[in-house]
C-alpha cells in the first residue's frame, strides 16, 4: 500500500483548486491511500465545498505529521530536541527575555514569518519552567469584550493547528468548556458573553440543567445553597500538553537559527537616551537591536530594570491533580462562584484549579488553606471524589492586571516591547500573542488586533474588562 500525505491543507479558495487536483490524483491512482492534514473541521464555507465537491475525507485535525512517520517506521526517533548553543554572541538583532511559551512563540514567528534569525531567547531557568508548564491548559475564547473574543478566538484556532504547524505533538483535545451559573446575575452575563462570542464566530450557547446533565452526567446539580441554574457551553475549547508548547516553538525556532540560552538570567539593562543598548546577563553583556520582555510573574521586576513601572501585581496561583481514574468527564467544568474548575487529562488525572492566592507574593510555595478550598469545592461538584488522593500539587507566579487583560505593546523606550500581564489566562493566548507581538516588533507598528491591549489604556481609562469572564475560569 502506498500513501500520499498532503500537509498543511488550509481552507481557502486555492485549496478548493488543490482539492480538485487531489481528487484527480486519487481517481487516477486508486491504489494510493490519501491522507489530508490541516483541514479545519469547521462546518460551513470552504470545508463543506471541498468535501462535497471532492469527496475527500479529512484525517482528524490535530495529528502531527511527524508522529505518523515514526508510527510507521521501525526505528525510534533518537534525535535530541534541544541542543544547547555555545556561549552568547556579542550582539543580537532581537533579545527576548523569558523562555516561556510566549517568548519562544515570538522567536519562532520572527524567524519563520519575518525572516529575522539573529535572535536569542534568554531564560534564567529552563524553557517552559515558568507558568507555561504549570498551567491547567484551558484554551477557550468565551470572553465578554469583542476585542478579547477576537484575539482569543484566533488563538484557539491556531492551537487547533499547532501540532501540525510545528510537527510536535501537543495532544490537543477538543473537549469543550462548561461554565456554571449559580445565580441569575451570572446567567445574564452568560447571555451577553454568548451573544458577543457568537457574533465573532465562536461556538457557544447558554444551556439549561437538562443539557448540563447530558454533557456532564456525574455533576451534582443541587449543590447545597448554590444550586446550578444554567451553564455556558463552549464546544470550541481545547486542552493539551502545556510543556510541549514551549518545546515545539523552541525546537522549530532553533531549527531556523534562533539561539535559546537557558540558565541565563537578565540582571539589568543599559539605556542610552530612549533606547536599550545592552542587556546584562549572568553570562555576560550583549548588545541588542530590539528587546522583548515575556517573563510573566516577574514582569514588574524586569521592567523595573529599564525604569518602567507597570499596572501589575504578582500572586501565586495554585493547582493540583488527583490519582488517575477511568475517564468520566469529557469537558472542562468551571464554576466562578465556587472558585474551582476541574478537567480530566488524557492520563485520567483530574486537574483542579481555582483563583489566585489572597495576597501578593513572589514564591511558588503552596498553602494548605487554598488546597483545602479547591478540594472542598471540587467535591461539591463531584461528591464521589471525597476519597480520591491528591497526587501532585504546585503553584506559579501570575502577573495580574487590574482589568484581567494582557499588556502587549510598545513601552516608553523606543526598542523595548512588552508582552506581560498574562495573569491566570495567558496560556491560551500563546500562538496569537507570538504571531502579533512578532509582527509588531518586525514592523515597528502595533497591529490593529493588539491596539486595545497597550499599557496606555490605563492612562486613558480605556480598560478591557474581563474580570467576570476570567476569575477562576482561566
Amino acid at each position: 500500500m502506498k500513501y500520499l500525505i498532503i500537509k498543511n491543507f488550509h481552507c481557502s479558495e486555492q485549496s478548493v483548486l488543490k482539492a480538485y487536483q487531489i481528487k484527480f490524483l486519487s481517481e487516477k491512482f486508486p491504489k494510493i491511500r490519501l491522507y489530508v492534514f490541516g483541514l479545519r473541521a469547521k462546518r460551513g464555507g470552504h470545508f463543506d465545498r471541498i468535501i462535497r465537491v471532492c469527496g475527500i475525507l479529512p484525517l482528524e485535525q490535530a495529528m502531527p505529521f511527524g508522529l505518523l512517520k515514526y508510527g510507521l517506521s521501525k526505528r525510534y526517533p533518537s534525535k535530541p530536541d534541544f541542543v544547547a548553543p555555545g556561549d552568547l554572541k556579542k550582539s543580537y538583532d532581537i533579545v527576548i527575555v523569558g523562555g516561556g511559551g510566549h517568548g519562544l512563540a515570538v522567536a519562532y514567528h520572527l524567524a519563520c514569518y519575518w525572516n529575522i534569525r539573529n535572535i536569542c531567547v534568554l531564560d534564567k531557568g529552563y524553557i517552559g519552567g515558568g507558568n507555561t508548564a504549570r498551567n491547567t491548559a484551558v484554551i477557550r475564547s468565551n470572553y465578554i469584550t469583542p476585542e478579547s473574543v477576537n484575539f482569543y478566538a484566533e488563538a484557539v484556532r491556531m492551537y487547533g493547528q499547532l501540532s501540525n504547524e510545528l510537527g510536535y505533538n501537543m495532544m490537543m483535545s477538543n473537549r469543550g468548556q462548561l461554565t456554571l451559573a449559580h445565580s441569575d446575575a451570572t446567567i445574564r452575563s452568560f447571555r451577553m458573553r454568548a451573544e458577543v462570542s457568537k457574533h465573532r464566530g465562536t461556538e457557544i450557547e447558554v444551556v439549561d440543567r437538562q443539557t448540563i446533565k447530558e454533557i456532564v452526567p456525574n455533576l451534582e446539580l443541587d449543590i447545597h445553597a448554590q444550586p446550578i441554574l444554567a451553564g455556558l457551553w463552549h464546544p470550541d475549547a481545547l486542552t493539551g500538553r502545556h510543556d510541549s508548547v514551549a518545546w515545539g516553538y523552541a525546537v522549530c525556532a532553533m531549527e531556523l537559527g534562533v539561539e535559546v540560552h537557558q540558565r541565563t538570567e537578565v540582571t539589568g539593562f543599559e539605556v542610552v537616551g530612549n533606547r536599550v543598548t545592552k542587556v546584562k546577563t549572568s553570562c555576560g553583556d550583549i548588545q541588542c537591536g530590539q528587546v522583548v520582555q515575556a517573563v510573566a510573574g516577574h514582569s514588574s521586576v524586569v521592567a523595573k530594570m529599564v525604569g518602567i513601572r507597570l499596572p501589575i501585581r504578582s500572586y501565586p496561583l495554585q493547582a493540583m491533580v488527583t490519582l488517575p481514574m477511568k475517564p468520566f468527564i469529557n469537558p472542562m467544568v468551571s464554576s466562578t462562584a465556587l472558585h474551582c474548575y476541574v478537567s480530566q487529562t488524557s492520563r485520567g488525572e483530574l486537574v483542579i484549579g481555582g483563583g489566585p492566592d489572597p495576597y501578593e507574593l513572589y514564591s511558588t510555595r503552596s498553602s494548605l488553606e487554598l488546597k483545602e478550598d479547591l478540594a472542598g469545592h471540587a467535591c461539591e461538584m463531584f461528591p464521589f471524589l471525597v476519597d480520591v488522593p491528591i497526587l501532585r500539587q504546585w503553584a506559579g507566579i501570575v502577573d495580574m492586571t487590574p482589568d484581567y487583560s494582557p499588556i502587549m505593546g510598545p513601552s516608553e523606550l523606543d526598542n523595548y516591547w512588552l508582552d506581560a500581564g498574562w495573569g491566570t489566562w495567558g496560556f491560551k493566548a500563546t500562538p496569537a500573542s507570538g504571531k502579533y507581538v512578532a509582527q509588531m516588533v518586525a514592523q515597528q507598528k502595533v497591529p490593529e488586533v493588539l491596539q486595545p491591549f497597550g499599557v496606555e489604556r490605563f492612562y486613558d481609562f480605556g480598560l478591557v474588562n474581563e474580570m467576570g469572564a476570567t476569575a477562576a475560569s482561566h
Binding site: 516577574h298 514588574s300 521586576v301 513601572r309 507597570l310 499596572p311 501589575i312 501585581r313 504578582s314 489572597p358 495576597y359 501578593e360 507574593l361 513572589y362 514564591s363 510555595r365 498553602s367 494548605l368 488553606e369 487590574p402 490605563f458 492612562y459 481609562f461
Partner: protein, 96 residues
C-alpha cells in the same frame, strides 16, 4: 498554618486577615492630573522584597500595618497605625 501577629489580637491564622496593598500616599484628587491619578489607581511597585502594607483582621475589623517580605513570605513586623502615623492623615479634603 501561617500565623500573623495582630497588634490587637495577637498571633492568629493568616486566613483571618486581608490585605489592602502597599502603604502609599494618595495624591490630592483636586489638583493631581489624570496621568498621575491613573498611576495611583492602577499601577503598582510590585516589589520583590520588603513591602509595608495595610492589613485588616476581619473578625474584629481591626486595621494595622505590616512589613512583609514578598519573596520569602515572612512577616517581619506589625505596627499599629498610631505607631507609624502619629499625626492624623491629610487627605487634602477641607473640613467644611
Amino acid at each position: 498554618m501561617k500565623v500573623m501577629h495582630c497588634p490587637l489580637n495577637g498571633p492568629r491564622n493568616i486566613a483571618e486577615f486581608i490585605t489592602f496593598g502597599e502603604v502609599n500616599k494618595m495624591p490630592v484628587p483636586d489638583t493631581v492630573d489624570d496621568r498621575a491619578w491613573a498611576e495611583f489607581v492602577f499601577f503598582a511597585n510590585n516589589t520583590a522584597g520588603v513591602v509595608r502594607e495595610w492589613w485588616c483582621h476581619t473578625p474584629t475589623n481591626y486595621w494595622f500595618i505590616a512589613d512583609r517580605h514578598t519573596v520569602s513570605d515572612e512577616i517581619l513586623a506589625t505596627y499599629t497605625i498610631a505607631e507609624l502615623f502619629p499625626e492624623p492623615f491629610n487627605t487634602g479634603e477641607s473640613d467644611g
